[in-house]
């Protein structure tokens, strides 16, 4: 029998963070919503009652209920199936874009912050300039350019390329700035100095000492990047520059519904509820993550 109290065991920063996160009810509910939606997106083919492109001309604009749980659209396509398949596109846009912009932004920010000096000044100058271009203009132009390139054969990926790349190009800037700030802060720490004194090389220090320490803030930022990408995608769809039919995302569905707002409100209600709930969940989960892993909030 050990006489040491279990609660006295040393906890790593991560496990302590996780235990704090588990206590946050809103975040845990949000996390489960996110996981459910991800599963729905993965198993869309098995879950959807109909195909997303089958048109049923006998049931055009059917109201919710009966055979079609959420009604049908103006081409007689089942709304529920379109929303389920739409989750594939929306989540793909949110997550892939966040990862793409993270890879580029983190590399850029880390180089800028670690090398410092003139290079840092020029790299940050470039970011300032990108910040001054209205993001929507950049988004639209870049998307139209990338849409004209044929990079993939898979029809789903092909429809997504323009949006993915355009959103990543707009999104990496924020991440680069944040990563640079973190690197600048951590390279002044004593343990980095100690590693240098022991003769560690630059890339070793970045990979072994700096990266693990900025991982927390990066993950938090990533969680906030995903909903903002989903939001931007819906805005692009709204101005008519979203996915090409027959593919649909929640944004495409909601903006289609917008056109018949007065006559068939069910077309906008269901996609917008799921869109808002998912965006809200990501934001609440991000808040919880930040509270749990930000050392400043530690009590």
């Amino acid at each position: 029998m050990s006489s040491i109290d279990n609660s006295m065991h040393a906890k790593s920063l991560w496990s302590e963070g996780f235990s704090r996160l588990k206590k946050n009810k809103a975040s845990m509910v949000s996390l489960s919503i996110i996981i459910i939606v991800c599963l729905i997106a993965l198993f869309a083919r098995q879950l959807a009652p109909y195909s997303f492109e089958t048109q049923n001309m006998d049931h055009i604009l059917a109201p919710p209920g009966g055979d079609y749980l959420l009604g049908t659209d103006s081409l007689g396509r089942d709304m529920l199936s379109r929303i389920i398949f739409g989750s594939r596109m929306s989540m793909a846009v949110g997550i892939i874009t966040a990862i793409l912009s993270l890879i580029f932004g983190a590399l850029y920010g880390a180089i800028s912050g670690w090398v410092g000096g003139t290079l840092d000044a020029y790299m940050m100058r470039f970011i300032d300039i990108l910040y001054a271009i209205p993001s929507l203009v950049l988004l639209i132009i870049v998307k139209v350019i990338f849409d004209s390139l044929d990079l993939f054969d898979n029809p789903e990926l092909k429809a997504l390329t323009g949006i993915l790349l355009a959103l990543s190009i707009v999104g990496w800037v924020t991440l680069a700035r944040m990563v640079r700030g973190q690197v600048l802060q951590i390279r002044e720490m004593v343990y980095v100095e100690a590693a240098q004194a022991m003769g560690a090389r630059g890339w070793w220090i970045v990979a072994k000492h700096i990266f693990p320490n900025i991982l927390g803030p990066i993950i938090v930022l990533l969680t906030f990047q995903i909903p903002s990408n989903i939001l931007y995608e819906s805005i692009l769809s709204f101005i008519g520059l979203g996915l090409q039919p027959p593919f649909s995302s929640w944004g495409v569905l909601a903006s289609d519904g917008w056109r018949s707002l007065r006559t068939y409100p069910h077309l906008i209600i269901s996609p917008s509820i799921i869109l808002s709930v998912v965006i809200l969940s990501f934001n609440l989960f991000g808040d919880g993550l930040r509270d749990a892993f930000d050392p400043k909030m530690k009590k």
Binding site: I133, I140, V144, F238, I239, S272, I279, L280, L284
Partner: protein, 371 residues
């Protein structure tokens, strides 16, 4: 000349000039916003007077704080930024597939050759670039390709007032509602009021603007028939667009204010004020608010950028005759001069706002020294 100002900067009169010009430009701005909202047309003289006052304010303040070199550097940097943005946008536009005069029915080659000669499109890209830059230097943004016979400057001067109006109203909403909501939530930290306000705020951040618009239109235009669902013709037309545009920044500001007030409330000097036995109200308004609003002010730069981007969508939703519609359509139309002109204008607004916010930042927080 600098010497003269250096000696003068501690004198009373220069303080008076700063106070007078600052307050008058602020008051004129507020009153003209209110006037334009009620439906009066704000006269150009008033706008010019306000610009003169604010320029006078910033110049005297710059001299007084010995920031002349800094400001000149920043203004120079702003021009470089705009030049680079013009170059980036120009290059991107030439990468766009399709040309401005592609139509379903192909035009005869002679006609295309004529059109291209008129707009210098037959020349090498570098020559076109040079033409464009020298045009800007002379204040000429070129002619629109799609709106035949109208220059980009015409289109901008027609639509800019509406966009500005919408943007300023939205900013006003965002400060008028966001800051008090944030302060109130923080002062009632962890109570039901705090939770309610923050839930509303986070929903405001997450909802896409066209959904907010859909909800408002369904309630106020379709059901109650109180407000018109589109166009830009008077106070009743302004309400929904400014709400739709303002709700997201207001929510962000509320969250920011709350966080910043909470941070200040836990600081040492607030504990001192409490131990002196000052009433909570005095502590909140006299001690906490002043310091906690500084981060909110710094956020004004990104805020203006967000409101500008949002205004494109809001204008599209409510058919507001502003620049947003042109901006989106001009890309689809490949109307190169119009895209370039609008992008440059927006970027100039952003760059200028950031400079002004930085100056104001040092004005409100004297601990910050810009150099």
């Amino acid at each position: 000349m600098f010497k003269l100002f250096k000696d003068a900067n501690q004198r009373q009169w220069i303080q008076w000039v700063i106070k007078f010009t600052g307050w008058s430009s602020f008051l004129i701005l507020i009153s003209s916003v209110v006037m334009s909202f009620i439906g009066y047309v704000v006269s150009p003289q008033l706008i010019i007077a306000n610009i003169v006052f604010s320029i006078a304010f910033f110049i005297t303040y710059t001299f007084q704080q010995h920031m002349t070199v800094y400001v000149i550097k920043r203004v120079f940097g702003a021009f470089i930024t705009l030049l680079v943005i013009a170059t980036i946008t120009f290059t991107l536009l030439r990468l766009l597939p399709g040309g401005p005069f592609d139509q379903d029915k192909a035009l005869p080659p002679e006609v295309i050759a004529n059109i291209e000669a008129k707009y210098h499109l037959d020349k090498p890209v570098l020559v076109q670039y040079w033409h464009y830059l020298s045009g800007i230097a002379q204040g000429d943004l070129g002619d629109s390709y799609k709106y035949i016979g109208r220059s980009v400057t015409d289109i901008i001067s027609e639509t800019l007032p509406n966009t500005l109006q919408l943007g300023i109203y939205a900013l006003l909403i965002c400060y008028l509602f966001g800051i008090p909501a944030g302060v109130f939530a923080a002062s009632k930290h962890n109570s039901w009021a705090d939770n309610t306000i923050m839930t509303i705020a986070i929903s405001g951040v997450t909802l896409p603007s066209f959904l907010v618009a859909a909800i408002l239109i369904l309630i106020f235009s379709v059901q109650l028939n109180w407000l018109p669902p589109a166009l830009w013709d008077g106070p009743e037309y302004y309400i929904m667009p400014m709400l739709v545009l303002g709700i997201r920044p207001a929510a962000i500001i509320a969250r920011l204010t709350r966080a910043s007030v909470l941070e200040v409330i836990n600081s040492d000097y607030i504990r001192t004020a409490r131990s002196k036995g000052l009433p909570e109200r005095v502590i909140l308004f006299k001690h906490v608010l002043k310091n906690s609003l500084i981060p909110v002010l710094t956020f004004s730069g990104p805020l203006v950028s967000g409101v500008l981007t949002g205004s494109f969508i809001t204008e599209l939703i409510f058919a507001v005759p502003g620049m947003g519609k042109h901006l989106i359509q001009s890309v689809t139309n490949r109307d190169y001069p119009l895209i370039l002109g609008l992008t440059l204008l927006f970027s100039a607004v952003l760059v200028l706002t950031n400079l002004l916010v930085d100056l104001l930042y040092s004005f409100f927080d004297p601990r910050i020294k810009l150099s």
